[in-house]
Structure formats: C-alpha cells, structure tokens
Subunit: 224 residues, 2 copies
DNA sequence: GAACTCTATCAACACTGTGTCGAGAAGGTC
DNA sequence: GACCTTCTCGACACAGTGTTGATAGAGTTC
C-alpha cells in the first residue's frame, strides 16, 4: 500500500518519488535514516505539532536547509514512517478467513485483531502523529483511508462467508456492517492507546470489541 | 458543560472568563458577535488551519490587534462556538430511558440518536474544526471528553436497566460496552458527515448503527 | 467644563517557524 | 585539471502569532 523507498537492490537512478530523496546513490542514506530515526524518537516524546524541522535537522546533525535536501517537508518524514509502519503491520497478516476457519469465530477474530494491532501498539507516538496529520494533509487522509478500506473489504468477505454457510443470520448489507465495526475498532483502539478521556482499559479493549463483533455478526457472543 | 458568556441579564461586571472578553458592558458585543459569525461562516468554507486571525479580524471589520481585545486566540473563538453547539445539542435532549420506554428499543434509540445528531449535522464545518483542534488543544480534548462521558453514562444506565428487567442478556460490563458503542457512533457519524474514504451513506448510518447497538445490547435486532 | 476613567482601537514591533536561493566544498570520472 | 554530481549551509523572504504603547472617544463626577 503506497510506496516506501526500499534499498535492497541498488534502486533505479531516477525513482519517481514524491517524498524521500530525489537522486539517491551513495552515502547520505545515513542522513536520511538519521532524520527518520530522530523523528521516530521525538514522536514518542512529544506531539508532532511541537516538533520543528529544525529539531529534526539538529537531531540528524545537519542544518535546516540540508534537511530539505532529503525531505520536502516535516509531513513527508512522518508519512514515510507511517508508510513503513503500515507495510509492517500488513506484512505479518494472514488470511483472516483461514484464521477464522482454523480457530473458530472468537479465537480466530482475537488472533487476527491482536496480530493486526501489534505493530501499532509498539509506536503510539507514530500513530498519534498520523492521526494529527489527517486534518491538514490529504496524503495522510488517503493513506489511512486505503488502510481502512482493505480491512473493510476483508471483514465484508468474512461476514458474507459466514452468512453464506448459515453460521451468521441475515442483517444489514455486509459491507455496511463491516464499515461500522472497523470504525469502532479504530476509534476504540486509538482512544485506549492514547489514554483518552472515556476509553477502555488496555487489557480489555479487544475482549469488549470482539464481543460486540460476535453479537453483531452472529447474534451471539459464543457462536458455533 | 463549560461556560458560554450569555448576556440576557447585564452580566456581573467581572465574570471569570477564560475565553471571550473580559470587562464587558456596552457595545463591542457586536464586534464579538461579528467575530463569531465570521468564524462560523468561514469554517463552512474551509478548514480551520486555512483561517488566520487576520481573516477573522477582517471579516469582523477590525484590525488584528483589536481581535485580541475580544478573544485570546483563534482557538478560543472556535471553542466558544463549539461550547454553544454542544449546549444546543444537549438542550433538546430528553431522558433516553423515558424515550426507550415510550417507543420501544428500536424506535426509541432511533429517536434519541436522531435528536442528538441533528445539531451537529447542520454545521459540519464546526464539527470538523472541533476535531481538528483536539490534537493541539487540551481544552478541546477535555470538552469533547466530557460530552462523550455524559453519553457513555446515559447508555450505561440504559444497558443496566434493560438487563435488570430481563430484556437484555448478560454480557461485558455495561460501561465497557457503552464506551465502545459510543465511540463507534462518534467515528461513524464523523466519517459520514465529512464524506471520508470508507464511510456509510448519510441516510444509512443510523440504521446500521442502531442495528449493531440492538444486537450488541439485546442479542437481537428486533427486541420485544 | 476640566479632570478622570473606562472601553475600544490600531501602527509598529518582536518572535517563531517555513521554505528558497545561491554560493560553495568534497569526491568521482575522463 | 576541467567537469559533473552530491551534499552542505548562510542569508533571505514570507506568513503568521501575539504584545506594546499611544490614543481616540464616550460617560461619569464634581
């Protein structure tokens, strides 16, 4: 989902990048990495709005103008980090339908969601930054929208499958239900991760969410 | 919930205001109103980040320094507007337990939620501004947190009542379920209102949300 | 009607942060 | 050693925020 300048292979001399560096060949990759690392570190310390381009430059041992040689803006740095985090989360992901079939609804759902949120839970600062970016940055909106969409598609498939085999009763269109459920998860997980006002305890979120999912999809908290 | 300088009565000479004006007596109330109206108008045109203090001042026919005579910051203006919108939404609100008892679960829930979201639906720009403010403004976070909390409390009471009279089966602690459900509603309504990436259609949101609520709380979409 | 006190107003300033420009240094290549 | 290319930064131009200080005018008060 979206590009992320990997450098396993030498990388074609002129990659059409939006964020990240332009030419790219030798060192200075170190600088780029230093900037990203600085950003990740600072984001776990304070919100994005309180981090300036100068902070990132200083942290990477370069001057502010030099920062702009590597990234077009502060947002671009954050987007790169999020790109990678999302790719990371998508990587360890197994086919949800398979997981459900193998473990049964409750345990399967739990396994899938636990796996999904593991990557995010380890970097709350990055998650917050992504969320902070959405209001002002269209690219951030699109990126997160695409992530949500892929989850919705998966969940829609699950609901349709379960209804098809008679394990789940009829109800609102599967996709509509999937959207609402995925949105609930996003909101609840986010609130918990950041310790918002009314939010669920860290070790209770998943239990509660899964219970609602099961009741919504199967009509009972303990399906077949 | 939180102050909002009303001026029905002459208002005590020294009201301890955080936002809004200080002394307050004669005209210049016009100016304050002009600023608020300008802000509301502009917010329906473009996001908060693209509105400067200067825009608000110009719109109200005053200079930028004069703006600061009336409000300590741009955020304060938005918070005042949101304060009023929230108060407005809370105003037309009836006891949810009563509404449920009179109309039955499905219709009662529908009536309550429709009523609740009516105020917000008419001013999407203000809602977005409030949401945009949360990342950077603690007061905005607290305000919205308090709103959420009051809804959660109501819903918790409903769930406990329905379980008590045997209409709803046991399940996770009522408050936990209430938090997740209220969060789902917030997220879904917001996404729909702003026409986000994956979101429910305007005329379907409530149906879908209510269906999930009923299944989650009663175990069936058509409780007695 | 002069002295006094408020509210209300703004030009000019100080500051913070962003992004750009143009002049170079440092290294590789022919 | 002339010549790219990568990389670096001082100095600038801008946009926006919030403050200061001086001042205009309206309304007492004696």
């Amino acid at each position: 989902m979206a590009t992320a300048s990997k450098a396993g292979t030498p990388a074609p001399p002129s990659a059409p990048k939006g964020r990240g560096r332009r030419g790219a060949r030798t060192s200075g990759d170190d600088r780029e990495r230093a900037i990203l690392e600085t950003a990740e570190r600072l984001l776990e310390e304070r919100p994005l709005a309180e981090i300036s381009v100068d902070d990132l430059a200083k942290g990477a041992g370069i001057s502010r103008p030099t920062f702009y040689f590597y990234f077009p803006s502060k947002d671009a740095v954050v987007l790169t980090i999020i790109d990678r985090l999302v790719a990371n989360a998508a990587e360890g992901r197994e086919e949800i339908l398979t997981t459900l079939a193998e473990n049964g609804p409750r345990a399967g759902l739990r396994k899938s969601l636990e796996n999904l949120y593991a990557a995010f839970r380890s970097r709350p600062g990055v998650v917050r930054a992504g969320s902070d970016l959405r209001p002002t940055n269209g690219e951030a909106r699109d990126l997160w929208g695409a992530v949500m969409e892929s989850w919705v598609a998966d969940v829609t498939a699950v609901i349709e499958f379960e209804r098809g085999r008679g394990a789940a009763p009829a109800g609102p269109p599967a996709r509509e239900m999937a959207i609402a459920l995925v949105q609930m998860n996003e909101r609840a997980q986010y609130a918990t991760l950041l310790g918002e006002a009314p939010s669920l305890d860290r070790d209770r979120v998943l239990d509660v969410l899964i219970d609602i999912w099961l009741r919504a999809i199967y009509g009972t908290p303990e399906p077949g």
